[in-house]
Symmetry: none
Subunit: 239 residues, 2 copies
DNA sequence: CTTAAGCTTACATTTACCTTAAACTTTAAA
DNA sequence: TTTAAAGTTTAAGGTAAATGTAAGCTTAAG
């Protein structure tokens, strides 16, 4: 994710009117992935299936209440949750925040306030300002040193610079090193969710990457293929 | 920093009464490093010198206003800032959030709300959500360790990699370990709902799997066959 | 003993992946 | 603006590992 506007948002509210309104406000602001549910059951399904990156949750719902729904979500995930409620009582407000809500807005609210609070919550969650200049990792594969800050591979024969795609792919592989990463997952890391042309493109990039990180690209030691499942980066030694 | 309570907090407010009160609330909660300033000038000095990791800022200050002070802080740092104000007007609220405040509380407030909002803001800033990818299980069968993330079986004689079919089958068996899994169910796990050729194909794959996970494939200890019903994985020890 | 269910092995086939080169696109330099 | 260079995608032919098939064998139950 490069931007908070890439976040998939789930709106849970029983009033169709309000769902449409909130959805419209969000879309106008630039959020493209907005989905909505009318009750707890539907919300649970969408949550499991769509894996939203932010939730806007009404307190009053036909088949349960927002608080217990939040507790369920919190048990399995840490996505930012923004409460929306007509009740302006301190008690509810505190209940919401205490249970782990990220913010709380009372109806009626200004569109601008919703946007501002949502942006604040999302950027805090996904682009933590303070720790933002976190360095990318540097690691070794045998004799080779790979620096993901500068995007370079230093071998005993010379130094290569990684291209954009190679960089994304190796980054993803490193994140999950030791584990199998599906081709699909790698494609999403390098090209985003947009469909893309040929299966084979990935293979060509993998080949290129191997040319840079493998002593013998044709019989890989580090970037292994797991037939039918994906690829796997092994032999990583962190620095 | 291991904990939000390690955060150094700066309170900026002109009323000594309120400074003491907020400070007391924070200390009681467990924050140990709390400092305070009465006006902009003092606040600037402390900010530069002490480098606080969180700021609680009043809007009304004798020698300026909280908003412009925040703008100064934001120019050089990205610490979480929590606004505190008597004015309960929408305008101010939006102004604060728009400039990059992390939250906004109106006086009078409940101690508990201050704490909750502060904790929310600090933990978001310093302990951001790491998008947790759920891991697949790792478990043992006697001496052998099976890792479904990397798709490997480590025995005392060596290490095998599971193929795609083996992976699906073992996954399904593990899901229901201790219980009988019908052949039909296993087939659906590995081949989907599409009909497929021969009964015997499954047996062949079971045999291959046994070759990898059983010390003696011909007299299985873990992957047992239950005549007329299916197969059963026993002796699983979770890791 | 007979039968049915499952096991085993070798061999055939398929499919997922590899490789290379050429075409296209973007970026940087002249 | 043109040219060159680097990066990326497409395409086609090749290969071996994974999978499927078949036939004979073993075991358990009645």
């Amino acid at each position: 994710m490069n931007d908070i506007f890439d976040c998939k948002l789930l709106i849970v509210d029983d009033e169709p009117e309000l769902r449409r309104m909130v959805s419209e406000i969000l879309r106008r602001e630039g959020f493209t992935k907005v989905i909505s549910a009318a009750d707890c059951q539907e919300a649970r399904q969408l949550f499991d299936h769509e894996k939203p990156e932010g939730v806007i949750l009404d307190v009053c719902l036909p088949d349960g209440d927002g608080f217990s729904l939040m507790r369920e979500f919190r048990a399995i995930s840490a996505v930012p949750i923004l409460f929306l409620s007509a009740r302006d009582e301190d008690e509810n407000r505190l209940l919401g925040l205490g249970l782990g809500a990220d913010d709380y807005i009372t109806k009626p609210f200004l569109p601008r306030e919703l946007i501002l609070r949502l942006r604040a919550v999302l950027s805090r969650a996904y682009f933590p300002v303070v720790l933002q200049k976190k360095k990318k990792p540097v690691f070794c594969l045998g004799e080779n040193e790979i620096n993901l800050n500068s995007g370079t591979v230093t071998t005993n024969t010379g130094r290569y610079t990684l291209t954009a795609k190679e960089f994304s792919l190796l980054g993803k592989l490193y994140e999950n090193h030791g584990n199998i990463v599906t081709g699909d997952s790698l494609c999403r890391a390098a090209w985003g969710d947009d469909l893309y042309g040929y299966e084979n493109t990935l293979m060509v990039h993998i080949r290129r990457l191997r040319e840079k990180i493998e002593p013998e690209p044709s019989s890989p030691r580090y970037l292994l293929t797991v037939r039918g499942l994906g690829y796997k980066l092994t032999g990583v030694e962190d620095k």
